[in-house]
């Protein structure tokens, strides 16, 4: 009896349980099969090792996933984040190479443009009433064209060391990208949990009609979510551009919108909207990055890599599905009955 109760608690565990279990299993796998996965060493005051790499490489998806979480909480989706990354990178590259602006000004302008791109998505969804997937698809497709126009179809290389620091610099012995993620994470958590934004996002996503009949400005809430997603994509775009010291408009952030959506869903926020967890999305992003890194370490060919990735994602999603857990539970109870 006691056993059954434990099992029930296990199967109906909190939303963070399953992404953590998935991440744990993956780490355990690496402990056994990857060489020196957990080996950390300090060289010249810097921390080196695969876990650090995971955080560094995963920073872009973590940033995207935070904005995406808010959009998905409203019941929408933002497909344009990869393209917004490209636009932001292109703007920054053009400003760095062709103007004498201070770096702070350049970053502010680039992020402002990313934010405006997000705002446009929000206006299309909330005011024009276009379905999110279509509204953001417009910018997803057109955005790269805009970026190409800005860079004149060229890959612009950047040599300004201060800008490159964003993507490759070290701070407190860790890659600077981790600092950026930590700051954005802090701001996000404060913004959604220390104001009523979280409550409004969840109520609009869960039952928009009831929320707006209660006086919640549902349109404003949605516009806010898409705008914030644009800003997060801006940060990711700056990092991606600084990482490779070039604005490559056709490649930067390619398919990354899907990784961000995966991260959010794996993290425990339902695509149908409502309850969301920012920290879950971070765990989801880490899980995906760990998976990518693991396969890289094991020498899996990049062309084949999506297959195991898909399998892990399906497994975590199934574990989160209450219906699936109920099936498993009834299977176990049948098995135990005799």
């Amino acid at each position: 009896m006691n056993n059954a109760a434990t099992m029930r608690a296990w199967f109906s565990g909190g939303t963070l349980l399953w992404p953590l279990v998935g991440l744990g299993l993956l780490l355990a796998f690496n402990l056994m099969f990857s060489n020196n996965f957990f080996a950390l060493k300090i060289l010249d005051g810097r921390l080196y090792g695969t876990p650090v790499d995971v955080f560094h490489q995963g920073s872009k998806v973590m940033l995207l996933a935070m904005g995406m979480t808010l959009v998905i909480a409203t019941g929408g989706v933002d497909l344009s984040v990869g393209s917004i990354m490209a636009i932001t990178g292109a703007v920054a590259a053009v400003l760095v190479t062709q103007t004498q602006f201070a770096l702070a000004t350049i970053l502010a302008i680039s992020l402002a443009i990313a934010t405006i791109a997000g705002l446009c998505n929000g206006l299309l969804v909330a005011l024009a009433g276009i379905q999110p997937i279509v509204a953001t698809l417009i910018l997803m497709v057109a955005g790269r064209g805009v970026a190409m126009l800005l860079t004149g179809g060229q890959i612009i290389t950047i040599n300004d060391p201060a800008f490159v620091f964003l993507g490759t610099g070290q701070f407190l012995g860790l890659p600077f990208t981790i600092t950026i993620v930590a700051l954005v994470f802090l701001v996000t958590i404060l913004a959604v949990r220390k104001t009523a934004a979280g409550l409004f996002l969840e109520s609009v996503g869960d039952n928009e009609k009831a929320a707006s009949y209660s006086g919640v400005n549902a349109r404003f809430v949605k516009i806010l979510a898409y705008t914030y997603s644009g800003l997060c994509a801006g940060f990711a775009g700056l990092i991606a551009t600084a990482n490779i010291k070039a604005a490559d408009s056709s490649r930067v952030g390619e398919m990354m919108e899907l990784d961000a959506i995966f991260a959010v869903v794996v993290g425990g926020t339902a695509l149908t909207g409502g309850r969301f967890t920012v920290i879950g999305s971070i765990i989801g992003a880490l899980l995906i990055q760990t998976l990518t890194t693991t396969m890289y370490n094991l020498g899996v060919a990049p062309a084949v890599a999506p297959v195991p990735k898909a399998l892990v994602i399906i497994a975590v999603c199934l574990m989160q599905s209450a219906a699936f857990r109920a099936h498993i539970k009834s299977f176990f109870s049948q098995w135990r009955r005799p």
């Binding site: 220390k194 104001t195 009523a196 934004a197 409550l199 409004f200 969840e202 109520s203 869960d206 039952n207 009609k209 009831a210 929320a211 707006s212 009949y213 209660s214 006086g215 919640v216 400005n217 409502g274 309850r275």
Partner: protein, 511 residues
Amino acid sequence: MTSVCSVVNALFPMAAEILRMRDIHKAFQSVKALDGVSLTLRTGEIHALMGENGAGKSTLIKVLTGVYLPDNGLIEFDGRQISPRSPREAEAAGISTVYQEINLVPTMSIADNILLGRQPTRLGCLRKRDMRRRAEAAIGRLGLELDVARSLGSCSLAVQQMVAIARALDVQARLLILDEPTSSLDEREVEFLFDIMRRLRAEGMAILFVTHFLNQVYAVSDRITVLRNGGFVGEFRTAELPRLQLISAMLGRTYEEVQHLKAPAETQRGDTFLEATGIGRRGLLNPMDLTIASGEVVGLAGLLGSGRSETAKLLFGIEKSDSGEMRMQGKPALIDSPRRAVRNGLAFSSEDRKSEGIIPHLSVRENLILAMQASRGVLRLLSRNEQHALAEHYIRALNIKTPSPETPIQNLSGGNQQKVLLGRWLALQPKLIMLDEPTRGIDVGAKAEIEKLVHSLRAKGMAVLFISSDLEEIVRTCERVAVLRDRSKVGELTGAEVQPGRIMNMIAHHE
């Protein structure tokens, strides 16, 4: 008796019984949706199925068409016992349904829609000529001339409805169910539909007609079956049933029984809080006047679809009025959104608790504070302590039964959900609260508590607009009642005039 019947049946084969549903029971969890309902249809008759919301009409139809399996009861169709397990099985047996929302494919042609799912084929190829012929035959049976190659989307709603009927005819239906077919048609189109219904009746079709428009029932039906609260009230011949009696059958209590129920004594009325003159919206509500004073409970009575909820939604800014004006506390007020309504001290609790009230996955606490937080804006978040204090206060004050303030509201019973929603508004201390069917679908205890609550709100000087299809409840609660019929206000009763009999009379248009 039986011999007489069989003789009659033998003499008039048209009047043979084709459908017999006996003692149908259906419960969802513990809620009885159908409790011993019977329905009998004869060939060549138009039979109206009537009842207010929640009476069990749609459940009964879903049992008949195989969407739900009944828990108990017998269905006999054409002399055989049937138990359809899907709409397809029901259709194969000869029972076809035309739904309120026409579920056809607007981009396909009329012929394609009529034959959708059973197109004649040869060797896997469509036989276009056959299709055309069959579609034309079905349309012809309705006395229509239409180019069946036209795309359905280019036709008017009325024609689309006809196509849906033609589709039903093509499957050799013996029984046609029309589920609120007239709600989106104008008067001429309704007449046209009635002509077709009469034509089919003459051919021996049995038609089950679901509607809430009284005039239409009297215009076209032969017999009426009335349901109320999942129970069977009676079967009547339309020609022998006065309107008043039909209304009392639908609303409960006979006319004589309710004559003596009394209205509450008129209390101290405050100043007029809200004064609406000529507000309305085309196709939704005809222009009407309404005033409500502080410390007054005004009732809105009328049948389903008479414009009760629409009135409240216009006042609350959910629907925008296209005529007239509103004054609040003597000053002109423009209310074009719920947010503005809330800012002006209005509150509205919808009749549709599930889709317009609760935020299902959020906690009781979050549901309780939502309106208050919304009015404070996004930046001034109520502190944890304030939230808990508010939640605890209303859980205690309204006697909400919940394991904890953190329980998702969807886990509560209907009555407790309703109390949470009332608490959500009371936290704002509104000047006018509009309650649309606040006691629907909740148990008797919670009902009494909500009625008591309304009385105490009045005593505190709040203005209340109270909407209910339960006449006794209206009479017990309201000192003034506005009566609606067919989307118009037809009159108002005050003080001693507020009696169920008078209200029914007004609804039936006998005064």
